[in-house]
């Protein structure tokens, strides 16, 4: 198996053109079955399933566990906040914790992350203030955190459109001699968009240090994977762009960490982009506003809950003695406290100055925007003098 791992780690990008394709193509193809370290319930999977990937250090697994516990609690809290009218909408990543946390843990602070609307949990794991992370979904602004300070792009809503940004940003860093890697999250549905393909192709051509992490959670809202693509697996997209690819059990936190670490370090080393498909499952509805019972069975959900990433990791860490019941209790307590603080802070009404509508359209407002702001000022002034009240 070391051999396979060795050749996976081989640098050098596929030459283009006819004739010599065979060998190169084979090297780019993913494993025929998803990489896994753990079986469905957290026992050890057969060595062969690891595809030569390395077991990550135990501390990393423990840290992942802690953040997954916190992430799941955060996620539940956010869903609860929608019911209390404190969030406009919330897309849960319950069940996808391995990818949410894994994608964060493999990155350095200097690396960039490109999340979608579903990655609120990843944002929090990355250390972003949870209130700032939820700004978009609360509706007080489109992005609550500073992308530059956090090296985290705004959560992207138009599917896959953040992919070329990640490629451009990573390429820019590499031009300056920095060793920055950009990791971009895309959903299974998002892979159908033209921008995903264009980004893969640009990344291949410019050897940009980008890791494309496809969270294949088997649904795009209500549309199941089978209607999304006829591909044997989405990881097979990579070879057509000269991009090394892998598929991984996305509910196996160890496998996700192992493969992503390899992918990120491969990209960092100058070997070009990497495409990782993580097979996972969206346990909740698309968002709180969605009714998943319209398009899928409870039995299907239950089956996937049997492969819960958090349980699997916990079982494993307990088994290998890396985690004690006290550790579990402490992690849960930390998560509870985190959720409590968040709840309190989210109970305050956000305050947005209407004048801010005009502030950051351009670095300097145009005369037209100054004029329009003046009109709004007049209205607000008139209201104030009438003693306020709703606009």
């Amino acid at each position: 198996m070391t051999t396979q791992a060795e050749h996976r780690r081989t640098d050098g990008v596929a030459p283009s053109g006819a004739g010599d394709a065979g060998g190169v193509a084979t090297r780019l193809l993913p494993s025929a079955t998803p990489i896994r370290f753990l079986d469905d319930t957290g026992g050890t999977a057969p060595e062969s399933a690891r595809g030569g990937y390395e077991m990550p250090p135990t501390e990393m697994l423990v840290e992942a566990y802690r953040r997954m516990v916190l992430g799941r609690r955060f996620d539940a809290q956010a869903t609860a906040l929608t019911k209390q009218g404190r969030l406009a909408v919330y897309p849960s990543s319950h069940g996808q914790e391995a990818c949410q946390i894994g994608g964060v843990l493999v990155l350095r602070d200097t690396d960039w992350m490109f999340p979608t609307y579903r990655e609120s949990m990843a944002l929090v794991a990355r250390g972003i203030d949870p209130v700032e992370a939820l700004t978009l979904l609360r509706g007080d602004w489109h992005c609550g955190y500073d992308p530059v300070a956090t090296r985290t792009a705004p959560q992207c809503t138009p599917l896959a459109t953040q992919s070329p940004h990640a490629v451009g940003l990573a390429y820019a860093a590499r031009r300056r001699g920095e060793d920055t890697v950009a990791l971009v999250y895309v959903g299974d549905g998002g892979t159908s968009e033209g921008d995903f393909h264009e980004a893969l192709n640009f990344a291949g051509v410019f050897k940009a240090p980008v890791v494309f992490l496809v969270q294949n959670n088997r649904y795009a809202i209500s549309v199941p994977l089978a209607k999304q693509t006829a591909a044997p697996a989405l990881a097979y997209r990579g070879v057509g762009y000269g991009i090394r690819s892998e598929q991984v059990d996305g509910n196996d936190p160890i496998a996700v960490l192992s493969v992503l670490r390899h992918a990120v370090e491969s990209a960092r080393s100058g070997a070009g982009p990497f495409l990782v498909e993580a097979h996972t499952y969206r346990v909740e509805a698309h968002t709180n506003a969605d009714d998943a019972s319209r398009y899928r069975d409870a039995a299907e959900v239950a089956a996937w809950e049997g492969r819960d990433p958090l349980t699997r990791l916990e079982t494993h860490l307990l088994a290998v003695g890396a985690l004690s019941d006290e550790d579990i209790g402490a992690a849960r307590q930390e998560a509870e406290a985190f959720a409590g603080r968040l709840r309190t802070r989210m109970n305050e009404d956000p305050d947005v100055d209407p004048r801010s509508l005009f502030v950051n359209v351009f670095a300097e407002p145009t005369p037209q925007l100054r004029e329009q702001r003046e009109w709004l000022e007049e209205e607000l002034g008139a209201e104030d003098s009438r003693g306020g009240g709703e606009h």
Binding site: D290, P350, R370
Partner: protein, 336 residues
């Protein structure tokens, strides 16, 4: 019986599917789920998955695929899930759907409807509230319809589906749950006909889609100030009903256009330009516009400051130089 605008759209699709085998409905989540706004609710179940189905998530692909089907005997009705998510299909709409008949000297018409839930006011996060009509109306070869009433929702959509040419069908999503007592099926005035929704003599308010209720409410409020206001609903932006518009403004001599979209080079600009071209000598005041600001659509918490409301329309009406006083807004240059 009270019918919502959403139900009227659903009924129009259903009736069209029943009556014409060549009609097919597809897009993202329109099949099993019935669409995120439930406009296609029950269609896949009742008419079969071959008549109403889900596609891969790719708007350019959806419109291009629809065009191919339209070239080959079908009448596809596709849904773009939200206004801003139609942008990836821009090339297919502008360079192909709009041009195929012209390109082929009439040999290949592409009867297809691109349904776009549009506009704001529903507390949607970024990209869920755009008013994108100006992009389409400026594109020769596209028809653009936008109902504001329940009856029109049904009738205009049926007409769009029957039309031999591509129609961008803009559905004001904040009116999806508005209700009226309408017996379906119903046939209202055809494409290219504006409707006088309120008769009046002192000024003309011109609106369409989501702005119509605002205009009507403003007209009611203005009545209290002694202004008798006429309200027009454009219904289709392309074709445009110059006759009804000009007749009204020639009668009233004053005109305000109301739209949600950003003002600059929006539909309101076209209406203002046309009205002053055609009614110059009847106008006692410039044609004024009430519109969204020239800013990216703002987040839910502040969208109310962006959207035209009754007060802003009333303010514009008040600036129609009733005492022959020029508009104070443009008398002096505004601030630095």
């Amino acid at each position: 019986m009270a019918t919502t605008l959403a139900q009227a759209l659903n009924a129009a699709l259903r009736d069209a599917l029943h009556q014409d085998d060549s009609v097919v409905v597809f897009g993202e989540d329109v099949g099993t789920l019935g669409g995120v706004f439930r406009i296609t609710d029950g269609l896949a179940g009742d008419l079969g998955e071959d008549r109403c189905f889900d596609t891969p998530l790719a708007e350019s692909g959806i419109v291009g695929f629809a065009l191919g089907m339209a070239m080959n005997g079908f009448r596809p009705v596709v849904e773009m899930q939200f206004d801003a998510f139609a942008y990836p299909a821009f090339e297919q709409l502008v360079s192909h759907a709009a041009r195929m008949r012209n390109r082929t000297r009439g040999a290949v018409g592409v009867p297809m409807v691109v349904r776009v839930p549009y506009g704001g006011g529903i507390g949607g996060v970024e990209h869920h509230s755009d008013s994108s009509e100006a992009y389409y109306v400026h594109t020769p070869g596209l028809k653009v319809a936008t109902p504001a009433t329940v009856a029109d929702a049904y009738s205009l959509l049926r007409e769009a589906i029957a039309d031999p040419d591509p129609v961008v069908f803009l559905e004001p999503k904040k009116l999806y749950w508005s209700k009226a007592d309408v017996d379906l099926p119903v046939t209202t005035a055809p494409f290219g006909t504006a409707e006088v929704r309120r008769h009046g003599t002192d000024a003309t308010l011109i609106a369409y889609g989501p702005a119509l209720p605002v205009a009507l409410a403003a007209a009611e409020a203005a009545a209290a100030d002694g202004h008798d206001i006429e309200v027009l609903d454009l219904r289709t932006l392309v074709p445009f009903d110059d006759e009804t518009v000009a007749a009204s403004v020639r009668k009233t001599g004053r005109c305000v256009v109301v739209q949600e979209a950003a003002g600059f080079a929006g539909v309101g600009a076209e209406v203002a330009a046309r009205v002053q071209e055609r009614c110059f000598h009847s106008l006692h005041a410039p044609v004024l516009r009430v519109s969204g600001f020239d800013i990216p659509y703002p987040p839910p918490i502040v969208e109310k400051y962006h959207l035209p409301d009754v007060d802003r329309v009333l303010d514009a009406v008040a600036r129609l130089q009733w005492d022959d006083e020029p508009d104070r807004r443009h008398l002096t240059r505004v601030p630095a």
